[in-house]
Symmetry: C2
């Protein structure tokens, strides 16, 4: 079985909107091992939708349609589906009664417009929608199946989970494809790739995807089969990958952030962290405080954009600035130590660099960045040459400081445990 | 003439990638008044692409295909197009020579794979690609036209500007649709809408779109017709909208940011600004320093997450914290004044608030935020109740501080000019 997704809505053909529902549906299909071969976006037009649906049904036996189930005159997905399949479309008294009940619960009565939402394609199974007035519909048609789903993501998710997922699970017999993502920061893609060679040899190159983005490399592990088989294989692969990559793995899952991991380490150790930033202009502090509850370990930080403030607020020795310049190892070390002292914190993290586009020189080109972490066991430093534009350089600089901090906290924790 | 866009690439059917090239093409079509009626995404499969192309050609007379022109075996757009139209596909000696020259310029020779990129659909016009090895192709087919364009955005933009745009301009006779966007910050959508009523009456409701996002309302003005006619009408509409909205308009254009506008005002006035942040954790400083050259007017800022640091770094009176709490008008005023003093800056901007999800109370729920700006003419304050989650509250709080600052700088400039 192969699948197609049809997204309905003229706004999805505009210059600034994309159909993102298809990503949610693609993930669901992938979990159940159904290949997605086609995505279509079409406006609110009966003939256009009917044609897109008929076209999709020629190559896909499962077609998922989202949108066009609202109460207004331009919500015509139901009509288009009936037309494409040569079926009737009629008001369903039960659906209409359910809509009336839904409105009554809010002390209101449905308008005549809402009657459109009670129209059901001949032979369709109605899929109740507890999150909205428009029910979904499933139409089986000679070995082919069409799901009509609402376009509102919150409603789509509900109907997909309640009706599409079980339908797919029944057909896949629980077999499907699943992934797990290991995360690493500030490691070159080629290093990660080389380190993983034994994993490729053991589990197959196609079972691993290495994805690089600024300051980060993700390792995606894939497994197919039944749920238990998939989980066991992913566990084995993740264990092997972690053994090969060591401490470079900062965590698992696409949603995880490096600032969450660092925050967790700080909270667990019961120590605090202060920041001192130059070229990142507050990005490091901002990332740390994105995490709810950061006040447990983050008393604050300073942004010292000028040399004067590096001296005044952080006690950076004027001699170091004069001799080495603001973007240098001695200065970033003094900044980290100054932040730690100024805030009375367990750790101080500092960043200085040249984010561009101006300010570079032959000796210190744009992208030259120094980060340092001062702690109870002294101060560590890293010097970097980062690629990209201002935004990317700033992002990677904050990433480098967080990663240096994470390694430091791990080392301190290890020493304590030992 | 109606248009369809076909994006080719199996990666565009995955769970985390969307076809964004279609947005660039949609904007181009819109400028030339050509309605986009269909978007299709299809994998790297000859039969699938050929079918999608044939389907699109049934409803659209112009089909723009992006992707699948690379040198690898799965780049099969050329084959698919030839198949869909029943045409030949043959290596073009001139195209091959151009590819060889391109490689020679880098001191290399093309591989046998690159020969695929010299394949041309019978009767096609070759569209040279100075930014890559794969040329585009334009195929005219009985009143219908197909453009094959590269999938790499940087190359697509080049070919679209050099070949598609002139082709469209010739057909539209210069007639098309154009928009201009006015930007406002921290004004309720309903206020903007009400203020614009005379504009709707004068130019038609359909010529204006009001778009709300957190902390911002955009006013899009639309005009159709010839280039001169469009420009004159947009000028008239923009002038009228500015007259109705007054200083609420901070600028024009979708790319403009509030921090750019504030930075420009600071630079022009030759004054500096320091920041003091609590709940935004550095976001205000980070936004200000996104703008290249911010060091001209931004000496630095502090993030004082703890009360102790508000006292220690900003001289906030401990009595004000004890009596009113950290999230209060007296404290935010003292923070702004403290930042101004500490950094010896012309202005100080401060934010304190409850970003959540924890920390709210009946009296001060999550979303309670105070912002203040201290300057040579005293200190101004705004208290807000902001909706949304932690991220949205922080964003809107930074937006409110920037907007308060902008108004203050405008007022100061006006006084000086007067």
């Amino acid at each position: 079985m192969r699948a197609a997704v049809v997204a309905v809505g003229s706004e999805l053909l505009s210059t600034d909107r994309l159909d993102t529902n298809s990503l949610r549906l693609a993930a669901l299909l992938e979990r159940h091992g159904v290949p997605l071969i086609l995505k279509v976006v079409v406006g609110d037009d009966v003939a256009g939708i009917a044609e897109a649906l008929a076209d999709a049904l020629r190559s896909a036996r499962l077609v998922l349609v989202s949108g066009g189930l609202g109460p207004t005159a331009d919500d015509v997905t139901r009509e288009a589906c009936a037309r494409a399949l040569g079926r009737t479309l009629a008001e369903d008294p039960e659906v209409w009664a359910a809509i009336e009940r839904r409105f009554a619960a809010f002390g209101r009565a449905p308008s005549e417009n809402n009657r459109r939402q009670a129209l059901v394609v001949g032979g369709a199974t109605v899929l109740p929608n507890p999150r909205g007035t428009a029910p979904g519909q499933r139409i089986d048609d000679g070995g082919r199946t069409i799901f009509l789903l609402p376009g509102v993501p919150f409603e789509l998710d509900e109907l997909a989970a309640a009706h599409l997922e079980p339908w797919l699970a029944e057909r896949s017999g629980g077999r499907g494809r699943e992934r797990r993502t290991l995360r690493t920061a500030m490691r070159p893609e080629s290093d990660v790739d080389r380190a993983l060679e034994p994993l490729y040899a053991e589990f197959g190159r196609e079972a691993v995807t290495v994805l690089a983005s600024p300051g980060e490399v993700r390792v995606r592990l894939w497994a197919s089969g039944g749920a238990g088989e998939r989980a066991a294989r992913l566990d084995a692969m993740a264990a092997r990958a972690r053994a090969l990559l060591g401490e470079a793995v900062f965590g698992e899952g696409d949603e995880l952030t490096l600032e969450q991991v660092v925050g967790e380490l700080l909270a667990r150790a019961g120590v605090s962290l202060a920041t001192a930033e130059s070229c990142t202009g507050g990005l490091l502090a901002e990332r740390l405080t994105r995490v709810p509850g950061a006040s447990r370990y983050f008393p604050g930080g300073v942004v010292t954009y000028s040399n004067e403030q590096k001296v005044g607020l952080l006690d950076v020795p004027p001699g170091a600035l004069a001799e080495h310049g603001a973007v240098s190892e001695p200065v970033v070390r003094a900044m980290a130590e100054g932040a730690r002292r100024r805030f009375g914190a367990g750790y101080g993290a500092a960043i200085t660099g040249i984010a561009g586009p101006e300010g570079g020189s032959a000796e210190k080109p744009v992208g030259t960045v120094h980060v340092a972490v001062a702690g109870p066991d002294g101060t560590v430093h890293r010097g970097l040459r980062l690629p990209g534009d201002r935004e990317r350089i700033r992002w990677q600089a904050s990433q480098a400081a967080l990663e240096l901090l994470r390694r430091r906290l791990l080392a301190a924790g290890g020493e304590k445990d030992a």
